[in-house]
């Protein structure tokens, strides 16, 4: 594919349709600046600031837009996990994903196994991520069939009262914001250097 894609780029460049520097900029942005660390900061802020959480759930596009990250979100919807209900995000028809707050999707999110099974067997999928929910927990799967995009606000782990937003953000994994994981427990990051 390397050769085929290089040929396509050289044709588009020679004909004046694309500027390789513009491509470099886009790639660099997704490799370094736009990724799940943005979502993690949003979730941590929601955990730490009840008023922000309220605004986030009511209108995530506005609440996140006001924070000024590189890619302003459009039609963003934040859905909150509770002890009674777990949310999961999928796009069965293609691979829609909240790029602006989570960056580019991982391969598994775009894969046929995930796209096919999330809506019919979410507990089976969660088991493959090592997640086992209580049998009575309601599972809500959001199929991203339009230009609306979803981010899950996972439950705040126990043992984190008084933590700063920066420290809380370290508990928020990408998978937790897609619904295929839970936020980390404090013990799981105990060995890491503080960021």
């Amino acid at each position: 594919m390397q050769l085929r894609v290089r040929a396509l780029e050289s044709i588009l460049t020679e004909k004046g349709y694309v500027d390789p520097e513009a491509l470099d900029f886009i790639i660099e942005a997704y490799e370094t600046r736009i990724g799940p660390h943005i979502g993690a900061r949003i979730v941590a802020k929601a955990w730490a600031d009840p008023q922000f959480k309220q605004r986030l759930i009511a209108d995530a596009t506005a609440a996140v837009g006001a924070l000024g990250f590189a890619g302003r979100p459009t039609h963003l919807i934040a859905v909150e996990n509770t002890p009674k209900r777990h949310n999961m995000i999928v796009c069965t028809l293609c691979s829609c994903y909240p790029w602006e707050v989570l960056g580019l999707p991982p391969v598994w999110y775009k894969s046929s196994p995930y796209r096919s099974r999330a809506v019919i067997d979410p507990r089976g999928v969660l088991a493959e991520f090592g997640v086992s929910l209580p049998a009575e927990t309601e599972i809500r799967v959001w199929d991203s069939t339009a230009e609306t995009r979803f981010i899950v606000v996972p439950m705040r782990p126990a043992g984190t009262p008084g933590w700063s937003e920066e420290k809380l953000a370290r508990l928020v994994t990408r998978n937790a914001m897609v619904g295929t994981g839970l936020a980390l427990a404090p013990a799981e990051i105990a060995g890491e250097a503080a960021t």
């Binding site: 594919m1 390397q2 894609v5 290089r6 040929a7 396509l8 050289s10 044709i11 588009l12 020679e14 004909k15 004046g16 349709y17 694309v18 500027d19 513009a22 491509l23 470099d24 900029f25 886009i26 790639i27 942005a29 997704y30 490799e31 736009i34 590189a70 302003r72 459009t74 039609h75 069965t92 028809l93 293609c94 691979s95 602006e100 960056g103 991982p106 391969v107 598994w108 894969s111 046929s112 196994p113 995930y114 796209r115 099974r117 809506v119 019919i120 979410p122 507990r123 493959e128 049998a135 009575e136 309601e138 599972i139 809500r140 799967v141 199929d143 069939t145 339009a146 230009e147 609306t148």
Partner: protein, 218 residues
């Protein structure tokens, strides 16, 4: 279209395989093709729905055996030829053979930052919304040969309107060349057993984002 891309509820694809410490791209060409798609898309010749339909229209075995970025490559090759920007002979030769299509612009590097935010797909409403939160609706049993965003697994099923999302560009119309034809968009939620029968997970609810033409009162 009832295509293999519409895979919600399908069996046989095996286990989900999360990758540890996954890189953003697995090879440099993946980044190039992603960026080319964004840059070419910004020229305004086609929209996101037309791009999706191009990938969905790949031969089914090619679709299923191709990685995500390979699909994007094949889809973009199809689009640039179909819109007259590149000749099939140029793709075959691997280099430009003809002058550019007249009047086409390019995305300047200085404008690239704008691409990091998507444009809005909401449009002014021509008429009031037919449904409101809490309404019971049924998705149509429809099987268009063209592009649609109503997955097969929810067709013909009863659900509840959970949220009215505004009036949005209608993919079925854009991909068919009829223009944006904005319609009201709703989050419609279905009980898992309504979708999958008695053997379905009783704790499951699934929602889709459904445009008004997909729905009728239940």
């Amino acid at each position: 279209m009832n295509g293999v891309h519409d895979m919600g509820g399908m069996h046989g694809f095996g286990a989900v395989a999360p990758e540890r410490d996954e890189p953003v791209f697995h090879a440099p060409w993946e980044g190039r093709v992603l960026a080319m798609n964004r840059a070419m898309g910004s020229l305004g010749l086609w929209n996101i729905d037309i791009g999706r339909f191009s990938r969905e229209s790949l031969p089914p075995d090619v679709y299923l055996s191709s990685s995500y970025y390979r699909r994007w490559t094949l889809g973009l090759e199809d689009l640039v030829v179909r819109y007259g920007l590149v000749g099939a002979d140029e793709l075959a030769a691997g280099r430009a053979l003809h002058p550019a299509a007249p009047g086409t612009r390019k995305l300047a590097a200085a404008d690239a930052p704008k691409l990091l935010a998507r444009g809005s797909y909401e449009r002014p409403a021509a008429s009031p919304a037919r449904f409101k939160t809490g309404d019971r609706v049924r998705t149509k049993n429809m099987h268009p040969a063209g592009h649609t965003r109503l997955p097969r697994y929810v067709r013909g099923h009863a659900g509840v309107v959970e949220c009215v999302r505004g009036c949005h560009v209608f993919p079925d119309a854009v991909a068919a060349g009829r223009g944006e034809e904005a319609h009201w968009l709703y989050t419609v939620v279905f009980d898992g057993r309504e979708l999958w029968g008695e053997a379905g997970d009783p704790t499951l609810e699934v929602s889709v984002e459904a445009w008004e033409p997909y729905l009728e009162p239940a």
